[in-house]
């Protein structure tokens, strides 16, 4: 099966083409540049390098968030439109799960994270079982200090993955001491080939109703709901 994988949920842009058991190519950049300008050009270039036409594609896998709202939307919009017009299945995979997959041979717990401002992080808890990454605690947005405290209960070695790990390393070390370590620099960029791999056998989404997993409500919506709540109290 020929799979195109797209991840634009952080500053890292990842595109991969996987053909059956073979990772044919991937493009990964970690640049503060505009995804909207670069993603379709990168897809075009990569398919061309792989001597493939869009019509050869049999499945699209996209990182569905959490992450930058705008970033995730660009990837998801492209993925939905391609899957719809090429009439092929679409699979969405957690952007944090893709990050965790870089550490799938770690003996212990894997904590992928993205900075979510004001001390908060998008994170989840994953565990590697013989090279397979499994979710233990669902993706969420939480204060890094609270998350570090919760992780204490597991009493296992913990690996932080993701480019924003360094921003929060101190918080985790303070609470968890030597049981926590940060993945090496070369593991932080999520690998789009891992994304393709995670999605290759999964149940496809309904293309029309598929939306990013933002985790958070839009701010205006949250404020509005809070006001409604006040009114009923």
């Amino acid at each position: 099966m020929k799979v195109l994988a797209i991840d634009t949920s952080t500053f890292v842009m990842g595109i991969a083409v996987v053909d059956g058991q073979i990772v044919k190519g991937e493009i990964i950049t970690n640049l503060k540049k505009n995804h909207s300008i670069r993603v379709m050009s990168a897809i075009e270039a990569l398919l061309q390098e792989c001597d493939m036409s869009p019509k050869d594609l049999e499945r699209i896998v996209v990182a569905k968030g959490p992450g930058s709202y705008t970033g995730v939307r660009i990837g998801v919009t492209i993925a939905k439109t391609l899957a719809w017009t090429l009439n092929i299945p679409l699979v969405g995979v957690s952007s944090l799960e893709v990050m965790a997959a870089s550490a799938k041979y770690f003996q212990g717990l894997v904590v992928p994270l993205m900075d979510a401002r004001r001390g908060q992080i998008y994170t989840g808890l994953y565990q590697a079982v013989r090279g397979d990454i499994q979710s233990i605690v669902a993706d969420q947005v939480i204060l890094a200090t609270d998350w570090a405290n919760e992780l204490k209960a597991y009493d296992q070695p913990i690996l932080l993955v993701g480019n924003d790990s360094v921003l929060h390393e101190a918080t985790f070390v303070e609470t968890l001491g030597h049981s926590v370590q940060v993945a090496s620099e070369t593991l932080h960029n999520p690998r789009p080939s891992e994304l393709a791999w995670l999605g290759i056998n999964r149940e496809p989404e309904d293309i029309h109703t598929f939306v990013p997993n933002y985790i958070r409500l839009a701010e205006a919506e949250a404020n509005w709901l809070a006001r409604q709540q006040e009114r009923t109290e």
């Binding site: 909207s36 379709m40 705008t70 939307r73 439109t81 719809w84 017009t85 029309h208 839009a218 205006a220």
Partner: protein
């Protein structure tokens, strides 16, 4: 049109409408689908960009599918894809632009980027063939512009607002009158029941200028309402609506007629969401009689508000002129005409 017919798929997501349409030869609507989010934004009293973007992602493939179904066509039969690249809300524009690029890429179809206002002007082409030179009055929530066109695809902005757009002034005045969002239609409706008894300014700016300014008028309305309240007097909302509308329309129509005479145009086109305003339509129709040589074209309401047929119509001209966008096409929220 000779030889082969040209089918252009238009995509528009610049604000709170997710829209797609197919237009044949730049003039004939084959399919036209608009999914409005207005209800969702009403509770916030205006369009919330993040929420608009979220809705566009939910709607985009549904709207595209409905369009192809209406046209009974396959995307591979399309000759070009035209998409609004700006101006507008950047996060909203991005959805249309990236969907358009993905479609163009998947089927190797030429892609053209369209300016939203060019789209509004070309909505007229779906009603009546454009005759040059012409003058377009574009009035919407975000725009108040007088545009002179001496030929297809060439736009000269001869007048624009220096502060609020007319539609923006309508929304703010509507809020002051405690009318629901969006304010334009409510004021238009209320104005018909009232009389322009309140003395409000008409801002003509300096002699010979075709620019507009509505913030002074808006403030005058708010101050007048405030002062009346302090004195314990009541101004009937319908009279205030009528007075405000009269002032706006007088200036819009006055400047349009002046410019049409000065530039010796063959046509005046009314474009943009505020073109749905009955007060404006009626006055423009009445005043244009001063210029018997000039034809006035006002598209039906459904083509005045945001839609993708207008983008396809404008895109057809650009496509025929050889304009092409690459896979690097981006949303440009402050795109110039």
């Amino acid at each position: 049109m000779s030889e082969k017919d040209i089918f252009v798929l238009g995509i528009e997501t610049s604000c709170d409408e997710t829209a797609a349409a197919i237009v044949k030869n730049g003039r004939e609507i084959v399919a036209n689908v608009v999914s409005s989010q207005m209800e969702s934004h009403q509770r916030f009293g205006g369009v919330v960009p993040e929420i608009a973007s979220r809705h566009h992602v939910e709607q985009i493939t549904l709207v595209l599918e409905e369009t192809m179904k209406q046209a009974n066509m396959d995307v591979s039969e399309i000759d070009a894809i035209a998409v609004t690249e700006g101006p507008g809300l950047v996060g909203a524009l991005l959805i249309g632009v990236n969907a358009a690029k993905a479609l163009a890429f998947a089927h190797r179809i030429p892609l053209v980027g369209v300016h939203h206002i060019a789209g509004h002007i070309y909505a007229n082409q779906l009603v009546q063939e454009m005759k040059f030179p012409l003058l377009a009055l574009v009035v919407s929530g975000g725009h108040t512009e007088l545009i002179y066109m001496k030929e297809h695809g060439v736009f000269e902005v001869i007048g624009e607002t220096r502060d609020d757009a007319a539609g923006e002034a309508y929304d703010k005045v509507a809020r002051a009158l405690q009318l629901p969002y969006p304010g334009g239609p409510h004021i238009d409706c209320l104005a018909k029941q009232g009389k322009p008894t309140v003395d409000l300014p008409r801002v003509w700016l300096e002699e010979g200028s075709y620019d507009f300014s509505f913030s002074g008028l808006k403030s005058a309305v708010i101050n007048t309402l405030h002062n009346a309240k302090q004195r314990g007097e009541t101004i009937l909302p319908e009279d205030m609506a009528a007075s405000f509308q009269t002032s706006v329309v007088e200036v819009l129509v006055g400047k349009t007629i002046q410019a049409a005479a000065h530039y010796d145009v063959k046509q005046i086109l009314l474009a943009g969401g505020v073109a749905a305003n009955e007060g404006l339509r009626t006055q423009l129709q009445k005043q244009v009689e001063q210029l018997p040589e000039v034809e006035l074209v006002i598209p039906p309401l459904s083509l005045c508000t945001d839609n993708a047929a207008m983008i396809a119509a404008a895109g057809t001209v650009l496509f025929q002129q050889g304009k092409r966008a690459t896979m690097a096409l981006n949303a440009n929220p402050s795109l110039l005409l």
